[in-house]
């Protein structure tokens, strides 16, 4: 059962998710000030501390030690706000995942993701909207709920939903072991000892951790889009890389500690962090050293979120280039380089399943189109990465909550707390992950207990 308290502090994106340059995140409820005190670093802290209603504050939004984005925070005290509660509106730049990171930080600090139409519902319940608007509120709630239902588990890729279901099954089984031993102490049911329970909790936590590592917003913020530049020798890869690094609108980011052996550079293009990997090339070769490099190139392609295939506008596609297009499809952006030399491209657009961008590194042409294309791919979630990515904020929040509860269960176990106490955390973990999968916790628990254990003294 889902519990949605009336006094919870809620958060959600107030603008439509997409290519907008600025996103507004709305935070409403009694805890909203507390939450921002922990995440927001105002440039003028004296003004912030004055705590005056209807003021705007510029500053950094932080996630732990890391500054995520420079934001503008609008403050409105209850009851003079849209919902009638304390409301903060955070204006951020950057991409959708910056907005998502901000929302997730708020959730981590105690907010809950708003239900569809919940701000408006609160506005109505707090007397901010008149009676005539009530029907509109109801319409809004039911319409948004229908839309949200479409984005349920079925929207996830097969592998991702499998992984989440596996996590849920894992936690469910742990809880079933605990509950069966508590509710049927004299039945001859298989039970877990301390070490086995610890092992199972750690397994579940690891699974949750892996899923979270693969969450799109988390990973893209942390690591950037893994972008591989690939192409024949002398087609202009290196010039492209250099151009990107020197591009005045591209910020070269200093990220230390890469351990792999490819050349990695970080640039932020149009608010999107790209982790650029330059490859040795993909051409077949007899030279063993070269072969090694080639193998690595293909491996890099397998892992890439985005592939920039640089081709010569004057030469038809060769076997290797066709192979890249065939294998990686929509993840590939084709850059038709040297378009200045060959205005009539030898590459037919019908040969390219994805997007083909006329480009000239030398003349500095096509960068706008490239930036726009990358943004389109990211925002519209067209990037079909090699790894399944969890991208829905609600799902990430639930998964984080689940992982948190598993951690609590582990520390309770280590501190020597008894099983009835552990069960509180484990049940919470199960509840959170069941929000994603849509299972009824109580019903599935009993099903597992009765099918797995021979109960009946």
């Amino acid at each position: 059962m889902k519990s949605t308290g009336l006094d919870d502090t809620i958060v959600a994106l107030a603008t439509a998710l997409g290519e907008a340059g600025i996103h507004i995140i709305r935070l409403s409820g009694p805890q909203s000030k507390e939450i921002l005190d922990r995440c927001f670093e105002p440039h003028n802290s004296v003004r912030w501390l004055n705590n005056e209603s209807h003021t705007l504050h510029l500053g950094w939004f932080r996630q732990g030690d890391q500054r995520i984005d420079q934001v503008l925070v609008g403050r409105m005290h209850a009851p003079h706000s849209y919902t009638g509660e304390d409301v903060y509106e955070i204006n951020c730049h950057g991409g959708a995942w910056v907005a998502q990171s901000i929302i997730q930080s708020c959730i981590r600090e105690g907010a809950r993701l708003a239900e569809p139409g919940e701000f408006t519902k609160r506005a109505f319940l707090n007397g901010k909207l008149d009676l005539v608007q009530a029907e509109a509120v109801i319409d809004l709630i039911s319409a948004r709920t229908r839309a949200a239902a479409d984005q349920a588990l079925t929207q996830l890729s097969g592998r991702l939903s499998e992984e989440i279901l596996a996590l849920r099954d894992n936690i469910l089984e742990i809880l079933a072991f605990i509950e069966a031993s508590i509710d049927f102490p004299e039945d001859d049911v298989e039970s877990l000892d301390w070490t086995a329970l610890k092992g199972r909790l750690e397994d579940a936590l690891r699974l949750a951790g892996e899923l979270l590592l693969g969450s799109k917003s988390g990973r893209i913020v942390r690591e950037g889009l893994t972008t591989v530049i690939v192409g024949r020798p002398n087609v202009g890869k290196s010039s492209l890389l250099n151009a990107l690094l020197q591009e005045e609108r591209a910020i070269v980011t200093d990220v230390p500690g890469t351990t792999r052996d490819e050349i990695r550079e970080f640039v932020s293009l149009g608010g999107i962090l790209l982790q650029l990997i330059d490859t040795a090339g993909i051409r077949e070769s007899a030279d063993p050293v070269e072969q090694m490099g080639i193998r690595r190139s293909w491996e890099a392609l397998d892992r890439a979120d985005l592939i920039l295939l640089v081709v010569d506008a004057g030469v038809p596609l060769n076997v290797d280039e066709r192979e890249v297009l065939r294998q990686y499809g929509e993840r590939v952006l084709v850059l038709l380089n040297k378009i200045d030399l060959h205005p009539q491209s030898a590459v037919r657009s019908t040969e390219v399943p994805g997007v083909c961008i006329p480009f000239s590194v030398v003349r500095h042409e096509g960068f706008d189109a490239l930036e726009a294309e990358i943004r389109r791919l990211v925002f519209n979630e067209h990037l079909d990465s090699a790894r399944p990515l969890l991208s829905n904020v609600r799902q990430i929040a639930a998964l984080e909550g689940s992982a948190e509860s598993l951690k609590n269960a582990l520390s309770a176990l280590e501190a020597g707390y008894p099983w009835d106490i552990l069960s509180i955390d484990v049940r919470r973990a199960l509840q959170e992950v069941s929000e994603i999968t849509g299972h009824n916790v109580q019903k599935s628990l009993l099903e597992v207990i009765f099918s797995r254990f021979c109960i009946g003294k």
Partner: protein, 638 residues
């Protein structure tokens, strides 16, 4: 010939565990009460296992007692042995289980009933209800007797169209050789009440002197004398001398047992289609266990005495409806039972039950004022679940007569609240058994604090008498004192006795002064250590100390659950008016609307727990209710 046989405030039909509590509660609250039973010799009979309590069930008994009910006292006084289960699994799930003497239990309860002021007990078979204008007015009994009343509590157990099945033989009958009640079902159906059909079963009973107990493992009672009741009680058999408790015995089925069962499955009513009712998953028959868990080489069985120095033993774990001769074969395949004499065969029983979603949270039939149903009739199983509902139904039947506000417990108040809400709000698909895992605030609903949660509530409705109340007040006062003492007292590292105690349980020695409270929070510190340090507390009831200790030790988790309860309460406080027309609310999901109409929840919390009702439905309802309250619903949605 028809005649007026009497006029009462409350009539209770059936004197099983539900009926006894209902009748006693109504009478104790000052209502003229009539208790009608089919057979005075089977009042408070235990047709199945000779024990009371266990996880969740024991919690219920403590709560019944805390409210001023009878079950705990009678179980204590007729106790053969007592064990506290789950002691290693945490304070929330400690659960007392008492083996009781069946006959003594019956006699004890009958004695209490017959000596209860305001209560009349009589034998009689109720055949139909008297109803006028959707109000119950009394009952008709066989022979034309008309009993009139303002409230009727039906607690007719498994008797409605009861059908006993043993092998290929099936006949109309109640439990344990009793007569079934054939006509009442039709009377209920005629009133538009929806009935379902369930099945349950019981194992064979065997003769003590044909058992070789040396082949069984002894299961003695605990060294500590445990009691359900918060009042001082004692077993009539072993007083408080724990060494005198009657043991139970543990044994196992063999591969031969399983072969016999498999070879005879074609005759098992469970698999031949003879049994149509739905049975409980938590209480499967042995044939079911052997089929479903084919890989298991042995299943546990417990031999439990049916009474003090009884000649008859109950074979727990061997519930079956196989033919009698197969049952004998099964028994004799068990080590120690080679020569056993089966006294009574196990059997399955099918019966009609009232689908409980038709009830209100007071266990009153919605749309039929004054009719309450409780116990196995509502599709539950277990004596404790029955007694608990009987108490709630009896209280509310009396409150209706007294023209007072109904008595409803929330899920956060106790297992009583969880039980009733589960039945009414969620509905049931199999015989319902209460489990601790059904309670979302388990840590708050401990058996040790049942009185702190409920006794004042019982006092307010006139069910808790003076002696219980005085004990309760003393306990709360002592508890307060102990809490203050532990909160305020500091222990110095210079105290050698403290360091010694810490050393004994491998706890870090003190380096600086520490509040007792902080010390208690160390997981390795138990009540024993604290008692050693505070000899002056020894005169206090150990329950008080235990209680105070738990509150401190698990404070963090307890506080978290309390916050959750408060969040819960905000939805529970939003009332949905009576006769609310869900069809007028636009924007509800189709399934949600249908469920809401069917269950008629009384507040948003209850509505949110109904399967098929989504969070969005709750939001829509919330907005609609607010709109209505501001007086605009009619205008806008018209």
């Amino acid at each position: 010939m028809e005649y007026l046989a009497g006029t009462y405030g409350v009539i209770v039909v059936g004197a099983g565990h539900a009926g006894c509590e209902a009748a006693l509660a109504a009478a104790r609250m000052g209502c003229e009460t009539l208790l009608l039973t089919l057979n005075l010799d089977t009042v408070a009979h235990m047709p199945c296992n000779p024990s009371v309590g266990g996880p969740a069930k024991g919690h219920l008994v403590r709560e019944i007692d805390a409210l001023g009910g009878q079950m705990g006292i009678t179980a204590d006084e007729t106790s053969l042995q007592a064990r506290m289960l789950n002691t290693g699994k945490g304070p929330a799930v400690h659960a007392l289980r008492i083996q009781s003497d069946k006959r003594a239990y019956h006699q004890n309860m009958l004695h209490v009933l017959l000596n209860q002021p305001n209560l009349t007990v009589a034998q009689g078979c109720v055949e139909s209800l008297i109803v006028e204008d959707s109000r119950v007015k009394g009952v008709w009994a066989r022979g034309g007797a008309r009993f009139e009343s303002e409230s009727v509590v039906l607690t007719s157990g498994t008797y409605l169209k009861g059908r006993i099945i043993i092998g290929s033989s099936a006949f109309a009958g109640g439990p344990n050789g009793q007569m079934p009640v054939p006509l009442l079902s039709e009377s209920l159906r005629a009133l538009g009440i929806e009935l379902g059909r369930f099945k349950t079963g019981t194992p064979p009973r065997i003769q003590k002197n044909s058992v070789d107990f040396s082949k069984f493992i002894i299961q003695p009672g605990d060294d500590q004398a445990w009691h359900f009741s918060f009042l001082p009680t004692k077993s009539m058999f072993w007083q408080d001398d724990t060494s005198k408790q009657e043991p139970c015995w543990l044994g196992y089925t063999t591969s031969e047992t399983h072969e016999i069962i498999r070879a005879n499955l074609f005759r098992a009513p469970l698999f031949t289609g003879e049994i149509e009712g739905i049975g409980p998953r938590y209480c499967p028959s042995i044939e079911d266990k052997v089929v479903r868990f084919a890989q298991r080489e042995a299943h546990q069985i417990f031999l439990e005495p049916e009474g003090w120095q009884s000649e008859e033993y109950y074979v727990a774990g061997l519930s079956t409806s196989m033919p009698e001769e197969v049952q004998i074969e099964i028994l004799r395949s068990i080590s120690g039972l080679e020569k056993v004499n089966m006294l009574r065969p196990g059997y399955a029983i099918e019966y009609d039950y009232v689908k409980p979603h038709q009830l209100s949270l007071c266990l009153e039939m919605r749309g039929l004022n004054g009719l309450f149903t409780a116990g196995q009739l509502n599709g539950t199983s277990g004596y404790e679940e029955a007694a608990a509902q009987g108490l709630i139904a009896g209280i509310n039947a009396a409150l209706r007569v007294l023209d007072r506000e109904p008595f409803v417990l929330r899920r956060s108040d106790g297992y009583l609240g969880v039980l009733v809400d589960d039945l009414v709000t969620k509905g049931i698909e199999e015989p319902y058994r209460l489990l601790t895992s059904r309670a979302e605030h388990r840590l708050l609903l401990r058996q040790d604090n049942a009185d702190l949660r409920l006794t004042a509530r019982g006092r307010a409705i006139g069910l808790v008498d003076e002696s219980r109340w005085v004990r309760y007040e003393n306990k709360t006062r002592d508890l307060e004192g102990v809490r203050r003492l532990w909160k305020e007292t500091s222990l110095s590292p210079l105290r050698e006795d403290v360091q010694l105690v810490l050393n004994r349980v491998a706890s870090h020695p003190l380096r600086s002064g520490i509040k007792v409270e902080e010390l208690i929070k160390r997981p390795e510190i138990s009540l024993r250590e604290i008692e050693t340090l505070f000899p002056e507390l020894q005169h206090l009831d150990s329950e008080v100390l235990e209680e105070a200790l738990i509150d401190i030790k698990y404070e963090g988790y307890i506080e978290k659950q309390k916050i959750e309860v408060e969040r819960f309460a905000k939805l529970e406080d939003r009332v949905i008016p009576a006769q609310f027309d869900f069809d007028r609310v636009r924007g509800l999901s189709t399934e949600g609307r249908q469920r809401l109409k069917e269950r008629e929840p009384v507040n948003l919390g209850q509505a949110s727990r109904i399967t098929g009702v989504t969070p969005a439905d709750i939001s829509v309802l919330m907005v609609y209710l607010e709109q209505r309250q501001r007086g605009g619903a009619g205008r806008v949605s018209g």
